[in-house]
Symmetry: C2
Subunit: 210 residues, 2 copies
Amino acid sequence: MRYHRIPDETVKRLPTYLRGLLSLSSEHQRISSKGLAEYVAVKPWLIRKDFSYFGEFGTPGVGYDVVKLINHIKQILRLDGVHKAALVGVGNLGLAVLKYAGFKAYGFEIAAAFDIDPAKAGKKINGVTVRHISKLGSLKRRRITLGIVAVPRDAAQETADAMVKAGISGILNLSPYHIEVPKGVKVISIDIAMYLARLPYYMPTTLTAR
Amino acid sequence: MRYHRIPDETVKRLPTYLRGLLSLSSEHQRISSKGLAEYVAVKPWLIRKDFSYFGEFGTPGVGYDVVKLINHIKQILRLDGVHKAALVGVGNLGLAVLKYAGFKAYGFEIAAAFDIDPAKAGKKINGVTVRHISKLGSLKRRRITLGIVAVPRDAAQETADAMVKAGISGILNLSPYHIEVPKGVKVISIDIAMYLARLPYYMPTTLTAR
DNA sequence: GCCTGTGAATGTGTTCACAGCG
DNA sequence: CGCTGTGAACACATTCACAGGC
């Protein structure tokens, strides 16, 4: 292998591979690109190409060592070690995030939660005590650099601004609003309604209610 | 304009444009590609190219008619009219979906909710009465063709199977599992943890906890 | 013989640059 | 003169096909 930058599309698939491999690891020690392909629904040659960007990991005639591959993908995604995240907005969606156990597998821990509603302050959910949003400044001291925005649309931008001010450099934005951040801060947005909005386009016309 | 199929990447951006335009429509009657570009963070030439796939909508020297554009995008995405959706899994995430008001703007209505827990059956949330999962068959009669999967990982595939059997042809999968469906059924999956998993990769190394 | 790794070929998406309309 | 619409150029991603290792 020679020098390669990892294409962005490959980076987007890495979590998919990781999820699949973590799931397979309990039963399989090795897996071929074909076997993994069936499991994660990505073409085998694309899997091989993707993996080839970050080194030679497979054994011709055998396949890939599952554990070795998991560790390498984690390393590339910087998921080795624990990442502490702060949640802002303990509404319905925020609660769901706070109570969700699946982040641990990727090394994430929701270590702080904030809400604008004073009535919610002090409540302990899943081991995390909710604080008032005005206490966001404490994140810098606690070296929490990852933020999850789960506030209503109209509060999204100011929440993001406050997070950046508190030293956050990566934001998962779950609000239905495009937030603007300074260079050096990365935002990934998920607006569930926008995914849903794409669904009718792909559905058979005859069955689609008009 | 001559014949054009709409590229998939363009279809993915249409909901983004729609969200932005809906938001702009209260203040602006017309908008230029440059103006919209700033609002939705997509390059102006890409916006023009995207819009050019489905006709000539702009007026040179002026811009686009916001309302006309909204209607046309809705038509392409088949979001004109109302789409009834069924939610399966009234846990934390399912509840958040059920209580979320933002689907209406795109013409979606959660018209049914199901859970495997008999204790939840009969509860009315946001005007929707939760039924036991065994009642899923009623969807066919009610002509509900859209399903939202919000069940735990291990129940995802069987839930999808049951949905397909009940006549669902479009699934929004919110579970952390890749579900397999027959041809003719479209699945769009969102696994929040997998988006989060990509964040550290893009964050400045010096600040990332290792 | 099976499976990886990878150049080359192909396919798809984005950007440029500008003609032409209002 | 500003702004759209769009071929042409460019950039990027996927697929093919096969040499070479196990």
